[in-house]
Amino acid sequence: MTKKYDAIIIGAGVIGSPIAYELCKMGYKTLNVDKLPDAGEGSTAGSCAIVRAHYSTADGVAMAYEGFKYWLDWENYLDHAEDEKGLAKYMNTGSLLLKSEGHDWKKVQANYDEVGVKYEEWDNETIKAKVPPIDLHKFWPVRRPEDPAFYDEPTEMLEGGIFCAEGGYVNDPALSAHNIMRAAEAKGGTFMFNAEVVEIRSENGKVLGITLKDGTQIDAPVVVNAGGPHSFKITKMAEGVWEGCNIKTKALRHEVMHCPSPDGYDYLNDGYHMSDGDIGCYVRPEVGNMFLIGSEDPDCDPQEWVDPDEFYAGKGGHGKDNQLTDEQWKAQCYRLGKRIPELKVPNQSKGVCDLYDCSDDWIPVYDKTDLGGFYLAVGTSGNQYKNAPVVGRMMAELIDACEKGLDHDNEPFQFTYKYTGRTMDVGFFSRKREINYNSSFSVNG
């Protein structure tokens, strides 16, 4: 017998799980299906789970700022649902954005002012007092270690930074998705794992449900694509949807490095999350007094667009598979080694190689589609982890409004943030938008 739900969410990561949770709270009977064995085990697990407010658009800043409130109040957000694995923890380190040519920090500052984000401006002396091992020379432009100019002596200094006391990271991103799954289950949601979707069934312009690899058919009038790096494959399964998207998504390979903090510097307890466009890196502390070093995708670095199934199967070869490369290890660690000259860089790389579900303008698509009942929560581009609980609420309200007859394409849904009270025009995330050139076109969003 074909099972029936009110809504099927494809994906049980940090985006799919909160959509289910919020729909459950609104009375929907939901099912999340995921090809992996548990919630958050896909690209969510590889996320740096950074929670920071600086985005290149005011809407981006506002959403991130709203997201803080959820992370700060995690147990209440979960409605005290129990998780046998324990709860993920938000670690508030504070977040420092260095003023550099690599970031449009003036725009970020204006966005902070517009949204009401509290921040301080720090000069170089203040930064040096707060981060003793830092070297505040200007190293711009970002280069690769293969380029001899990478080793040029810097002559100029940076000009301080912008510090937000509210900012940090979540210590276990996979666990956070698992927590939300348990919260959704407590409200009646169902999760199915090791289940791969192979077909989105539809008729007369309306979605009917999904078919799994083993042939199982499950029906629902609402199907949501929250498939992370696999999202573009799922979008293509739904009749007419891919063609109706002006903004498309694809999977981008990304490496994040773990390098030990210098002796004598307790980065884990004393350090900040830092965004450093001058060297094209962002960093946050990690257990073991490590620097976790992510790349802000400088133009000189290769971009590898990959097939997610091949990638996770370890295929594709050097620089395309799911292994770190020596070249990128050196690029990211040596870049940070300029900023933190005492940083010791081991010869063997350590870190995480995973995928971004990346949109054409690095801003996500949270939208309905040209197929009735089929929705998209895709293109999270490595920068939406922090927003996930807000996205869950926003998507649930969008879906509910559309199912009740809203013509979202012509009269975009207006979403009111629960904590900051700001109203968001969800049309900002439309699949039909033109490329947003206000975007940073990077993980910074």
Partner: protein, 258 residues
């Protein structure tokens, strides 16, 4: 003349890479290669000896293709003053390797001591250090976890299988194959990397060393990747039951408990 401290290093595949076999008997070199992890300890110990003595020169030496320069740069970033690349175009056995290293060292200077790693993680042959010692007529100690230099001699502790320890007294010069316990590798900072870029890599073609061919040799006929089967299993029950199940697995399946 200044005291010369040689460190023999090897360019090996990154153990974390997806290792593929090429032509049935070689590791595909399209993956990341790096300084053999045991050799990191050897370089660190050599640099520490120089610091302890307040004099001397640390010279890293390796036999391999042009790519090996990358590994020699790593060794120099970790403290070697300069390096020698003995260039060959193909895989060599430990008989040839030891002869080539000896010839290159002889051409360069007179060793006060030679450090190596206790083994290379790719071949794990553990032969080169002994062959090198024999060629020079030097004593050799392997898996050295403590090194105390004395005047014209050294006392070393070697770890044996099963956790035992042998203490040796060696005349100098000697060859020491160091183990992981000897030190914490001194990884380079970015300023160290910058300095290493300016250090000398002397390249010698192995053909120019006029090495006497050995009547004996060894070659790899076949190389097969070892595919380890990994299966996750959930252990359920009360905490006491879970512990009992785990102990049973460790005792009866993994056989790591008696």
């Amino acid at each position: 003349m200044d005291m010369k401290i040689y460190v023999c290093v090897k360019h090996v595949p990154d153990s974390a890479a997806n290792i593929a076999v090429k032509d049935g008997n070689t590791i595909d070199d399209k993956i990341s290669f790096l300084l053999n992890p045991y050799d990191e300890h050897a370089v660190t110990e050599a640099a520490a000896l120089k610091k302890h003595l307040g004099r001397g020169e640390v010279i890293a030496i390796s036999l391999g293709t042009e790519d090996v320069e990358k590994t020699l740069r790593s060794a120099m970033a970790m403290g070697a003053d300069r390096s020698i690349l003995v260039k060959t175009d193909r895989q060599r056995d430990s008989i040839f390797t030891a002869r080539a290293l000896k010839a290159a060292i002889d051409q360069d200077g007179s060793p006060a001591i030679i450090f190596t790693g206790r083994e290379s993680i790719d071949m794990e042959g553990m032969q080169t250090m002994f062959r090198l010692g024999a060629a020079f007529g030097f004593p050799v100690a392997s898996n050295v976890i403590k090194f105390t230099p004395e005047k014209n001699s050294a006392t070393v502790e070697s770890q044996t299988e099963g956790g035992g320890k042998n203490i040796y007294h060696l005349s100098m010069p000697c060859v020491l194959g160091v183990g992981r316990g000897i030190n914490t590798p001194s990884y380079p900072t970015f300023p160290d990397v910058v300095k290493a870029r300016k250090k000398e890599v002397k390249t010698i073609d192995v053909k120019d060393l006029n090495i006497t061919p050995s009547p004996s040799s060894m070659s790899v006929i076949s190389l097969e990747p070892f595919a380890q089967e990994r299966r996750a299993r959930e252990i359920t029950g009360t905490p006491a039951e879970q512990v009992q199940t785990l102990v049973n697995i460790l005792r009866n399946e993994a056989k790591v408990l008696n």
